[in-house]
Amino acid sequence: MRLGVKLLLVVVAVVAAGVMIGFYVSHLTTLAGSPSYSVPVSGTKSHPVVNLEFQTVAAVGSKVSRNPDWVSYLVKTTSGWRRETVWDLPANATVHVTWLNFDGASGLRNPYYGLPQGIVGNQIRVDGKPARSIDPNDASHTFAVPALGIIVAAPGVADNAKNQCGYATYGCPMANAHRTIQFTFHTPAKGGHFRWQCFVPCAAGWVDGFGGPMQTIGYMDGFLNVKA
C-alpha cells in the first residue's frame, strides 16, 4: 500500500473516531440515557396548556435507583410518579406547575436564588399563600432554567415535622409532611433543549453538597424539550 493511501486512512480513522467521541460525549451531556416524558397537553393548538406536577424527595429508594439515598425529582406521569427529569413540553405553552416538596431545608449558597423570577407575575404560591421571595435559609431546592431566566426556590419541611417521608420509591404519599409550591411559566415560541437544575447544594454526603445527584441527569438536573 502506498504511503499516501496509508496516511489518508489514518486521517480518516482519526476524524471518524473524533466524530464518534463527540457524539458520545454530546449524548452523555444532553439526555444521558434518561427517557423523556411527554407531559399531557390540554387547551388549543395555538395556546396549549400543561399541568406539570413534580415532587422533590430526600431519598428515592432502592426500587427506582441504584443510589437509594440520593435526593431526587420525581415527575407525575399517567402511570404514577417516575424518576425522569427530561420533559417534553409544547412551545408557546402556559405551564402550570405544582411542586410538592417532601425534603427539609438546607439553605441557599446565594440568597439571590430565593427570588422567584421568569414566571408569571414573578410570584409563587406556597401552601396556598402568595409569596414574592423565600427566606434563603429555608430553601430546600430550586427549580431553575437558566436559559429561560426561571428561578423558583421551594421552602423545606420543618425539621420537627411529623410523619416525614422516608424512601420515596414511587412517590411520597400526600399524607407525609410536605410543602406545596405553585407557579406558572410560559415556554418560548421557538423550540429547543433547555437545561434545568437545582441550585441548592443538596447532595448529602458529597463534598460541599455537590456531586452525585447534583451532577447526574435523572435526579437534580434535567431538560425541558420544548417542541415547536
Binding site: T29, R109, Y112, G114, L115, P146, F199
Partner: protein, 301 residues
C-alpha cells in the same frame, strides 16, 4: 538523518543556497508582514468592544507581525529544501556534506531570539501594567485606574450560572450583566463552590473565579454592544451550558434597567447581605455597599 550512503561522492555545488534562502525570505517577509499587520491583525479576537479588548487586539497585531518573518523563514527554508534537494525517482541517495560549526550563525541566532524575547517581555509587562489588560489581578491589583470611581460589579460563579451584584445600586443582584457605555468597571470575581473562570469574550476580560477569593479585573467599556459571557474553567457536568449574553448600554438605558431590576429585587433584598450569624446565607461572599465610595469591604461567610 543518517541513511545508508552509497559509494557515490556528492557532486561539488558552488551555488550559495544560504544567500538564496535569505533573499527569498526577505522578499516574502517584506510582502507578508505588512499584509498580516494591516489586514489580519485587526481581525484577531477579542475585538474593540472595550479599551482592554482594543489593547489586546493591538498586542496580537504586534505579536503576529513579529512572528510572520519567522514563519516566512521556515516556509522558505522547507520549500527551498524540498525543491532544490529532493531526490529524483531511481536516483541514488547521497548523503549531504557534513555540518560544521559556524560561530557567526550561532551568535546571530542567539542575539536575534534574545532580543525578541526581551522585547516581548518588556512589551507584555508594559501592556499589563498599563491597565491590567482585562485580566484578573487577584485581591490586590497592581494595575488599577487612578483618579476615578469605577462602577463596581461583583461577579459570582456557582454551578452553573454567573450572577452579578452592584454595590453602588444598593447591593442589587441580577442574573443579567448590564454595563453602561464609556465607563470604567471594577469587576470582583469570586465563586461559591468550585473554580470557575469569568470570560467576557468581546470585552477582553478573563478572571478566575475561586471560592473565597476576590479576583479584581478592570475594564473600560466603549459603545453599546452585546458580548458573550462564558465559563472558561471546566467546572462540572453543565460547564458547557454556563454562558449568557452581557450588554453594554447607554447611561440612560443602564439607569432604566437598574430601576426595573431594583423593583424586582426589592422582595429578596431584606435577605441579602446578612452576616451568617444574623441569619444570612452561610456560604455567600458578599459586598456591602461602600459608604462614600471606595472599595467595598468583602465579607466572607
Amino acid at each position: 538523518m543518517a541513511s545508508q550512503p552509497t559509494a557515490a561522492t556528492p557532486p561539488s555545488d558552488s551555488t550559495n543556497h544560504g544567500l538564496r534562502v535569505v533573499a527569498a525570505w526577505l522578499v516574502l517577509s517584506a510582502i507578508a508582514t505588512p499584509l498580516v499587520a494591516i489586514y489580519v491583525g485587526p481581525l484577531i479576537p477579542p475585538g474593540n468592544a472595550s479599551v482592554q479588548g482594543q489593547g489586546q487586539v493591538f498586542d496580537n497585531q504586534v505579536m503576529t507581525s513579529l512572528v510572520t518573518p519567522i514563519l516566512c523563514l521556515m516556509v522558505v527554508f522547507f520549500a527551498y529544501g524540498l525543491v532544490r534537494f529532493h531526490a529524483n525517482r531511481n536516483e541514488a541517495i547521497l548523503d549531504g556534506p557534513p555540518l560544521r560549526n559556524d560561530a557567526r550563525v550561532q551568535l546571530f541566532w542567539i542575539v536575534i531570539t534574545m532580543t525578541m524575547v526581551l522585547f516581548l517581555a518588556g512589551f507584555g509587562t508594559f501592556e499589563l501594567l498599563k491597565d491590567g489588560s482585562g485580566g484578573g489581578q487577584g485581591p490586590n491589583p497592581i494595575a488599577s485606574p487612578s483618579g476615578h470611581h469605577p462602577l463596581q460589579v461583583q461577579v459570582i460563579g456557582q454551578q452553573w450560572q454567573f450572577t452579578y451584584r452592584y454595590p453602588s445600586l444598593h447591593g442589587l443582584e441580577s442574573n443579567q450583566l448590564y454595563l453602561p457605555a464609556n465607563t470604567e468597571v471594577e469587576l470582583h470575581v469570586t465563586s461559591l463552590d468550585v473554580i470557575h473562570s469569568f470570560w467576557a469574550v468581546e470585552l477582553g476580560v478573563k478572571a478566575d473565579a475561586n471560592p473565597g477569593v476576590d479576583n479584581v479585573a478592570y475594564v473600560e467599556t466603549k459603545n453599546p454592544t452585546v458580548f458573550h459571557v462564558r465559563c472558561a474553567e471546566l467546572c462540572g457536568l453543565w460547564h458547557g451550558y454556563m454562558f449568557n449574553n452581557g450588554y453594554v448600554v447607554s447611561r440612560g438605558g443602564f439607569d432604566a434597567w437598574a430601576a426595573k431590576q431594583e423593583k424586582i429585587f426589592a422582595s429578596i433584598k431584606p435577605f441579602m447581605n446578612r452576616a451568617p450569624d444574623q441569619g444570612g446565607a452561610p456560604y455567600a461572599h458578599s459586598y456591602l455597599p461602600a459608604p462614600g465610595g471606595g472599595p467595598p469591604p468583602v465579607r466572607a461567610g
